[in-house]
Symmetry: C2
């Protein structure tokens, strides 16, 4: 460990000026002769002076720090959002204070207080699912932005993926590929994501005047469920030519089971997944056409919006961010692959 850290008064006395002059020189302000500024800068470099952000924050009232509150950071979805936010902040001089409430409301309140006591300039709350969640607290002295999981309170600012639009886009792609007997396997219906994606499916089907093949099958978001659902579906609706799956895990399971049952993908049945979780979507055979929610961008956008809210005006409400369809082999026209 190095010896005591240099303060601005050390710099000032080494340069032979007052503290105020040193401060002005270091901050590039007027009223300092060029020669004097040089001396101060040289002194600062020699002492490897780093201004104390605490003292600075105490005066300015701005810490240039934001809190990032996650409910379940182990989840696959929180992480990219977090990364995107960190990215946007890191570009400036902002720092991110990370807290994980692990789904516990008490702990969340505790963290909010701790962050407030550290005088963060703003808060980003990233949810573990797209289900609306309780507002973190009314009347906080700093702006709050919700990412991935929106706030229940429409007066708050939330950024969520446009699941309905993305699902419709995915299904339109299947229709454009000439598929007409489209089935749907997805996750538990208490997930808004599952309901939204189904809504998107219905939307695209009704636009085209096509009926859904069989009932929507709901189960866990797992590969195992994808396999199981595949067996049920191929029994009940043997003539399907496409499946829209609510997640890549489900899709990977479906593909595997379908192949074992002698159905070729994509020749007999085209498959679309969701999430673009690359370890699954690019490693299955064939690689999966899937929806990429672009979560890093969502996180970045949320962070940029927090900036705006910090020094100015926010635009409340739920902002739906467009997703992207990544087209791979699992939806190629028959005979191509």
């Amino acid at each position: 460990m190095a010896s005591k850290r240099a303060t601005i008064s050390d710099v000032a006395s080494l340069a032979g000026v007052s503290i105020a002059t040193a401060s002005k020189a270091l901050n590039g302000r007027q009223d300092v002769r060029a020669a004097t500024r040089e001396r101060v800068l040289a002194a600062a470099a020699e002492l490897s002076f780093q201004p104390n952000a605490l003292a600075r924050g105490l005066i300015s009232g701005q810490t240039r720090t934001v809190g990032l509150l996650t409910s379940d950071s182990v989840g696959r979805f929180g992480i990219p959002v977090l990364l995107g936010a960190e990215d946007a902040f890191g570009a400036g001089e902002m720092a991110v204070l990370l807290c994980d409430a692990r789904g516990d409301a008490i702990r969340e309140q505790h963290h909010v207080r701790a962050l407030l006591s550290r005088r963060v300039d703003g808060l980003i709350v990233v949810g573990e699912s797209t289900n609306p969640r309780p507002s973190v607290s009314k009347d906080l002295p700093v702006p709050v932005v919700y990412a991935y999981g929106p706030s229940e309170d429409p007066a708050d600012v939330s950024f969520v993926p446009d699941d309905v639009g993305a699902a419709a886009m995915a299904v339109r792609h299947l229709l454009a590929m000439g598929r007409r007997r489209i089935a749907h396997i997805t996750g538990p219906s208490h997930y808004k994501a599952a309901r939204d994606r189904e809504e998107g499916l219905r939307l695209a089907l009704s636009e085209a005047g096509v009926a859904q093949a069989g009932q929507t099958l709901s189960g866990p978001w797992s590969q195992r469920w994808g396999r199981h659902a595949a067996e049920m579906l191929l029994m009940a609706e043997p003539e399907i030519d496409a499946v829209f799956c609510g997640s890549d895990q489900v899709a990977a399971g479906f593909v595997e089971a379908a192949r074992e049952r002698g159905r070729r993908v994509p020749d007999d049945i085209a498959v679309v997944g969701y999430d673009n979780w690359e370890v699954l979507s690019t490693e299955t055979r064939p690689a999966l056409t899937t929806v990429d929610m672009n979560l890093e961008r969502l996180g970045r956008t949320a962070a940029q919006h927090l900036f705006a809210a910090i020094d100015g005006k926010a635009t409340p409400g739920v902002h739906r961010m467009p997703c992207q369809l990544v087209i791979r082999d699992s939806t190629s026209p028959p005979g191509i692959s």
Copy 2:
């Protein structure tokens, strides 16, 4: 946004005492009459007073904040370590300042300076691989602990998974199951993880006086490589009865290709993976026996060690943390599953 935040002097005047007395009452110190303490506490509650951590840190010289510097947070390995560290810190009153250098040394130095200027009490550096990395900086005024990726400088404190020991444990398990023709498929040899795991394999084999079946096959850490290696291996060494894979991705690829070639797992060939990446290890059929590096615990331990280093003495050097073998169906004795 709420109105101006209450300060301790607001609390003091509401309670009708001096600032000093208010401070003592709030911090549970002696020399305050019980009744007075009550009044102060009540006033603080009424104003929902939160002490300003900046002012407090300015005096005490302790911010109760640590910096978490990651080189590649998108990686699967950094995240659990980060979570474990956050966990250990969150238990106390510590907060974590997260920075992602994205593998760029310049950016890393920039972040170190920013963190130092914020007066963090310590630093955790989490690597993206177990390859030793340059020390973040000499003579920092705060303690530094490296997690997952150790520092090149043996005077630093590093915590890494015991890959050699874990690999040996995995291979001993195969031997205990009666397997004698054991092959090895792993990742690129410029990864220390790949070299260490191979070393563990050799160790366990030579203990038992058993020769490795064929050469070690090195390739990318991917499922695709696992499939490809399986084809080569089953051609070159058709009589193998077990494979130790350097990662679950490789193992999943191997299992898939082996089954397509008509080899039953585990009856004909037992398979062990590495990482316990659950989306792969529990969803393959059969579920994979694999090594769990227990990265969250590693992160927690690193954090706890940082505590120790902050207020006392550190024990320099590379600390190897034991891993755990998770036994599943892919190594069951023939005839069981």
